[in-house]
Structure formats: structure tokens, C-alpha cells
């Protein structure tokens, strides 16, 4: 089932919004919830939903980069931000308001969890916050910014949302160092247990880490603007690049040399002052890049294999990371651009035992289910099972493009020949073997690999030059009907 009209309306283009002024930066470790909220909204654009009190939470509405949004903050100045019935109700109301108005909701977290003094009443209230978040899931963008400890119940609040940003002072854990020490005997501090390093690199709980509170707020503003005001495709504004200097110049000369795909992602997207995209999960499963940016004037999600890490192989964790990103984008109506250069799935006992089949299936499921416009670009190669997983034609890609030098095959030609012609090769004297192998490889490339064969079969729709890539991708995305998956965004 699909909803054909994106539920987040673009602002009426006939009335351009007044230029939004950025708010003053949040001072590091300023714990006042009102100051924290004010730093999130455009200058002078915040209105509190209720006056400050001792409920433990504060909520507000306003504009972020001109687009309306709702936000709430736990009050770190009262009982360390502990959550009671009254404060939780305020958070639930803020989320429900965002859902009614179909605008993003941002939570600023600094809380030790449920209020002990309120007992089970507080637990029930925290549970109602979770339920409100799940009701809103996939309907409006939900962001979390973790500025201090978010422990116990407060840990799962951010974890239920679409994107979690964490500042250097942020901590997320279910049980704190004291409990860990008393139960398991492990000595660990809060930062090592649940700081930016473990959650940015190891657990995948946090999507974006920053070194200051002000940077965390700035990232949340950037994401809220991208998801809250997605814009429209204008492919006519995308010019064809020059023959000498284009996207293709960013690939290394040798086909087997690894390279960082991020400059290519940056160049593919619309240029802006400063960073032109927000990368999610940059250090977790870095062999696949997931990023939000604007392309031909509209917000898109980019998924790209990164050959610099693990050779760009898909593995268990990267498949899961990409699957969650695909489902988030689909549920929020964000079209996808998939940049493919993948040698296959990473082989190994560790991978199989880690559930590469189960987690890899999530990526297949996510792509096959997605109804947003989604185009694929094969830059160098796509082999094996990874071919199917990376938004292939068979999984319903809107269009699959490939550069003229790309290779689409079950495996690399050299490897395939070694298996298919093992006996013939072994039968030859050693000195003739290399010549025969080269001959067979060339023959095999003609018959099975090579992009022309893929075009004949119809698994690649069109071979395009690197210089015209931006234009062709933009045209294909703009021509596809706007759609949005009717599902929630479970944190896979």
C-alpha cells in the first residue's frame, strides 16, 4: 500500500518564506532546557507550548531554516532530567502535535531515566512516551539530540527515533557503571560505556557524533531542514559536466585500487556553502556510506559502497545499516540514489555466525518493499549476491544506470575462469597456462561480464557517461511518481 502524496507538504512556492536567521550557538554545557530549545530554532522563531515549570520537560514549536517543527527537552536542572508523569505527558503531547501537523519533532535529551520518587507511575509514563514515538514512526521525521546522560528509560527514547545525534558530553546506556561493576565486576567509566566512541563506532546506536553541543544542534537543524522541507526535483537546473573534469575523474586509474567514495558522493549532490550532505553512521560499518543531501533541488538519501573500507564488501552490519536507512527514507518519502561498486559479500565464518544471511535479508526486504523513486548507478563493478542487494532491477529499481567501463557479473572474470576451466588450465604445461587464462578471461568477459551483456538482458537500463550522470539520474528520479511507503521505521 502506498500513499501517493508526500505527507510533508512543501511550503507554498508562491510565497517564499522570510529568510531564516540562524540562532546564536548554544554554549557548551548550558543545561537550561529553554536555552537548548532556543538554539535549535531560527532566531526569534520559538514559542514555548507551556511555561517552564518543575515537570522535568519543556516543549516548544517554531521554525528551523524556515520550516515548521516541534521540539522538547528534558530538564537537566531538575533532578538530572528525570522523567515523571507530568513531564512525560508534555513530551507525548509534543509528539502528537507534530503528527497532527505532519512536521518533524526533535527531542533534546539529558535525563537519568524515570523519576524514582514516582515509582511505577513514572515507568508507565515513560512507556507512554515510547508508544507515542512508535505511533509517530514513519509518519513524521523524529530526531534526537543527546547532550548529557540518557540512561535507563531515557536511553530508549532516542533509540526509537529515526536519527540520533550525540555531543561529546552525551552518554547512552541502560545500566550505569555502578550497576555494571556490582553485577559483572567490570570496571568502566560512563564515557567508555556509552559515549560517542562506543555508540558512534561499535554499537550503531548513534548516527552522528559531534565534539560540541553547538555542533550537535547544528547537525540536528541541518537534518530537520532536509527532512522537513524536502523540496522538488528540478532536473533542468542540473548541467552536464565537462568531458575533462567530471564524476568519473574521482575513480582511480587501476580497476583494482580502492578509493574513498565520499568525494564522489559530495560531488554527485548539489553544492552548498560548507558541507553539502549529512553522513549517518559514518564510523559504524564504514564500508557502506549512508547520507542525506540535496540533489537537483530535492532531498535524497544516498547509499554508496565504500571500497576504501573492507574493499567495499557488503557484510552483516553494513547490510543492516543500509536496510534501516532505506526503510527510513521510504517511510519519510525520501527518494534514493544508490552508488554501486561492490566486490561481493564478505566471506568468512565470523560473517555467517554473525547472521549475514539474516541481516542481509533485511536489505533485500527493504529495497524490494520501497516505493520511493530509487535509481542505481554502477560505477565500476557489481558481483554476485551483492548485485541483487544493491537496488537491482529485479528488486524494483526505478532505473539502473552503469558507466561504460562497469562490470556486472556473478564474479570477476579471472576468478570465474579459474573455476570454470580448472581442468583445461591444469592440463596445459605451466608456461602456456597464463596465455590460455588471459584468452579465456577475455572470452568470458565478452560472454558473461561486461556491461553490454547486462544491457542486453535488461538488468541495466542504460549506459551513461560519467559527465552526464547527474543530469540523467535527476531526470529519472523526477520522472518517477512521488510515493511514500506506508510503514513505520523500526530501528532495525
Amino acid at each position: 500500500m502506498t500513499v501517493t502524496e508526500p505527507a510533508i507538504p512543501a511550503p507554498d512556492s508562491a510565497v517564499p518564506p522570510a529568510a531564516a536567521a540562524a540562532p546564536p550557538a548554544l554554549a557548551q554545557s548550558d543545561r537550561d532546557p529553554e536555552n537548548r530549545l532556543r538554539s535549535l530554532f531560527d532566531l526569534g522563531a520559538m514559542r514555548l507550548l507551556a511555561p517552564p515549570d518543575d515537570s522535568g520537560a519543556l516543549a516548544a514549536r517554531g521554525q528551523i531554516d524556515g520550516a515548521p517543527a516541534v521540539a522538547f527537552a528534558t530538564d537537566a536542572t531538575r533532578m538530572g532530567g528525570a522523567m515523571g508523569a507530568e513531564g512525560c505527558q508534555r513530551i507525548v503531547d509534543a509528539i502528537d502535535l507534530a503528527v497532527r501537523e505532519r512536521i518533524p519533532v526533535i527531542g533534546l535529551w539529558h535525563s537519568g531515566g524515570a523519576r524514582l520518587a514516582e515509582g511505577v507511575v513514572a515507568l508507565d509514563a515513560v512507556g507512554q512516551v515510547f508508544a507515542a514515538m512508535v505511533r509517530a514512526s514513519g509518519r513524521v521525521p523524529q530526531l534526537s539530540v543527546v547532550l548529557g546522560p540518557a540512561a535507563g528509560g531515557a536511553a530508549y527514547g532516542p533509540a526509537l527515533t529515526d536519527i540520533v545525534v550525540m555531543s561529546k558530553e552525551g552518554r547512552i546506556f541502560v545500566t550505569g557503571p555502578e550497576v555494571v561493576r556490582s553485577v559483572t565486576g567490570e570496571q568502566v567509566d560512563m564515557e567508555r560505556l556509552g559515549g560517542v566512541e562506543p555508540h558512534g563506532r561499535r554499537s550503531g546506536v548513534v548516527h552522528v557524533t559531534t565534539s560540541t553541543d553547538a555542533d550537535a544542534i547544528a547537525k540536528a537543524r541541518a537534518v530537520a531542514a532536509l527532512l522537513g522541507d524536502q523540496g522538488r526535483f528540478s532536473p533542468d537546473d542540473v548541467s552536464v559536466e565537462s568531458e575533462e573534469e567530471n564524476l568519473g575523474s574521482l575513480l582511480p586509474q587501476q580497476a583494482n585500487r580502492a578509493y574513498d567514495v565520499k568525494p564522489l558522493v559530495g560531488r554527485l549532490l548539489d553544492q552548498a556553502d560548507g558541507e553539502n550532505y549529512v553522513e549517518l553512521h559514518a564510523k559504524w560499518a564504514p564500508n557502506i556510506v549512508t547520507a542525506l543531501g540535496r540533489f537537483a533541488g530535492r532531498t535524497v538519501g544516498v547509499i554508496a559502497n565504500n571500497p576504501l573500507r573492507l574493499g567495499g564488501c557488503l557484510d552483516s552490519i553494513s547490510a543492516e545499516k543500509a536496510a534501516r536507512f532505506v526503510r527510513m527514507c521510504d517511510s519519510l518519502g525520501v527518494p534514493l540514489v544508490v552508488v554501486v561498486d561492490v566486490p561481493g559479500y564478505l566471506p568468512g565464518v565470523g560473517q555467517e555466525w554473525d547472521g549475514v544471511v539474516r541481516r542481509g535479508a533485511k536489505l533485500l526486504h527493504a529495497f524490494a518493499e520501497a516505493v520511493v523513486p530509487r535509481v542505481t548507478l554502477v560505477t565500476r563493478k557489481v558481483y554476485g549476491g551483492a548485485y541483487i542487494a544493491m537496488n537491482s532491477r529485479s528488486l524494483g529499481a526505478t532505473a539502473v544506470f552503469a558507466w561504460p567501463t562497469a562490470e556486472v557479473a556473478v564474479m570477476g572474470a579471472a576468478a570465474a575462469v579459474n573455476i570454470l576451466y580448472r581442468k583445461q588450465l591444469a592440463a596445459r604445461p605451466a608456461e602456456e597456462r597464463d596465455a590460455l587464462r588471459a584468452e579465456l578471461v577475455a572470452e568470458h568477459e565478452r560472454a558473461a561480464g561486461g556491461v553490454n551483456r547486462a544491457l542486453e538482458i535488461g538488468v541495466v537500463d542504460e549506459i551513461i557517461k560519467p559527465m552526464e550522470t547527474r543530469r540523467r539520474l535527476a531526470e529519472a528520479l523526477a520522472a518517477a511518481p512521488a510515493a511514500r511507503g506506508a510503514h513505520t521505521n523500526i530501528p532495525l
Binding site: 585500487r257 574493499g311 564488501c313
Partner: protein, 71 residues
């Protein structure tokens, strides 16, 4: 603080580019591994001095093996 750089996957050490004692910067290449028929550079993620280089050309590294220590 010393930072250990470990192999992300099983690979052959194809080329050693840096040597112990070198001053290295974020993004510099230490060694180039060969795996999955690809040449994969091992990159420094923080500036410092290369205190120890634990591999030689031709070595086979397993996932998690120490490649270098940066200080």
C-alpha cells in the same frame, strides 16, 4: 594516547608505505593490503608518530591483527 590500528579483514600485505618513526597525519596511508582482489590502503585516522609497524610485505594478516601503533 597510543592508538592501535588493526586489520579489518583477512588480507595479504602487498606494500609497506610508511616506516616506524614517521610523523603521520589523518588520511595518510601506512600499508596497502590485498584482499578480495582489491588493493586496500590502511589509513591513519588521527595525527601522530608511527611508533610501531607490525607487518612486513608478504605477511598474511587475520582480522584483528595489529598493523601499527600511532602515538
Amino acid at each position: 594516547m597510543a592508538e592501535e590500528i588493526r586489520a579489518e579483514m583477512v588480507a595479504n600485505v602487498w606494500k609497506v608505505v610508511a616506516s616506524a618513526g614517521d610523523t603521520v597525519d589523518d588520511g595518510d596511508t601506512l600499508v596497502i593490503l590485498e584482499s578480495m582482489k582489491m588493493e586496500i590502503p590502511v589509513i591513519v585516522e588521527s595525527a601522530g608518530v608511527l611508533k610501531e609497524l607490525a607487518v612486513h610485505e608478504g605477511d598474511v594478516v587475520q582480522e584483528g591483527d595489529l598493523i601499527a601503533v600511532i602515538e
